[in-house]
Amino acid sequence: MSGIAKSVKKVFKSVGKGIKKVASSVAKVARKVAKSKVFKVALMGAAIYFGGAGLMSLSSGGTFMAGVSSAGTSLASAGSSLLSGNFAAVGSNLSAGIQGTTVAAQTAGAGLTAGAGTFAANPLSVNLAQGTVSGLGPAAQSTVSMAANPLSVNLAQGSVSGLMSQAPAAAATAASSVAPAAAGMSVGKGLMYSAGINAGAQAAGGYFNARAQEEQADSERERRGFNISDKRGGDYRFDVQSAFRPQTPRTVNDFTGG
């Protein structure tokens, strides 16, 4: 589980030469898998996507697998975006998946004062998975159920929204901006991961885009009869000479086109 970026480049000359294949369908399946090249591209994408999510979770005090698990929840939508050809949506879906992870240790900075006290000394902890926010000041309000008011955290913009109805009045300020703690994950770091995920998504998206275009172009060429030979072994599918040879009219229907 390391060095994937370097390792996917390696080309083995002896692939498939080890022992005689037992499964008779293996040649056909191997052609499909090898031709698509999707295995290594998808692996690289998974390493960036889940690796980034795991690292984010680690850097915010969670476990690597907690980040991976949280990121998995939005993968279905990212995957369907890839396959439907809506590649522009892939990056945002993947980023949303990462942002949907547990975000902790975001210390409220200046400007988060609330009447009698300040939040500066009271770290804010947001758990999207459980829908809770803790550390917003007075003990009685330190945990706020977000069930009625969904919380939205945007790491890229460094903003938190959805705290209005149940949080103390000053949380309205908190909703506009949260300064990240030096010890916790910074907004910049979040941005960096997000950029990496987008880059990976673009790479994967580009791959799928190219594949889709290749297949569409191929089928279009076949449909129009531009392929000189078919895949069954070289039969001419489009006879240019006969297609353009002038026809001698022999019947009334030939003249009228009937």
Binding site: A23, A46, A88, Q216
Partner: protein, 170 residues
């Protein structure tokens, strides 16, 4: 196709070293013999057939054999593990086709992508539980991904854009 060339170029390629080739051949032989030995083979088919999806079943089967091979060989280079993983996915899918558990037509990019995704998370979970997950290595992979540049001319077009521009202008 030019775009495919660009993608290959972007990922890059490098010949495996003689040591890696040798390790791969040994690992491949062991893994394939394991897979096709009566009981393991039967278990593999059952594992896929009883899984909640073909993708998760294949991923689990491949993961088990990959780890078995890794333990047997004591260690495997990442490059060998990745190539062997691809080989095993192919073999398990072929086994499923031969045993008429899945039609060959179901094998497509989406299925392979799902398998790879689940295989990665299984491997990460296992490495994490064994205390062998190295975040610095994961960081290297993420950093490498961040350095990927979208090749010139490879725009992420929607189907609508492709339709408007026409296939011949892609």
């Amino acid at each position: 196709m030019q775009d495919m060339d660009k993608i290959t170029q972007m990922v890059g390629s490098e010949d495996a070293s003689p040591e890696e080739e040798q390790q791969y051949q040994q690992a491949y032989e062991y893994a394939l013999q394991s897979l096709h030995t009566g009981e393991v083979s039967k278990n593999t088919v059952g594992r896929v057939a009883n899984a909640k999806s073909v993708a998760s079943g294949v991923a689990e089967a491949v993961f088990v054999i990959l780890r078995r091979t890794e333990v047997h060989m004591e260690a495997l280079d990442d490059a060998v593990k990745i190539q062997l993983g691809e080989d095993l996915v192919t073999e398990v899918l072929a086994l499923m086709v031969d045993s008429e558990r899945i039609p060959e037509g179901e094998i497509n990019d989406k299925l392979i992508e799902d398998i790879v995704t689940q295989l990665y998370t299984m491997y990460a979970k296992d490495a994490d539980e064994r205390g062998e997950l190295d975040p610095s290595k994961v960081q290297e992979d993420v950093d490498a991904g961040m350095q990927m540049q979208k090749p010139d001319g490879m725009s992420a077009m929607s189907n609508q854009e492709v339709s408007e521009r026409g296939l011949m202008n892609v």
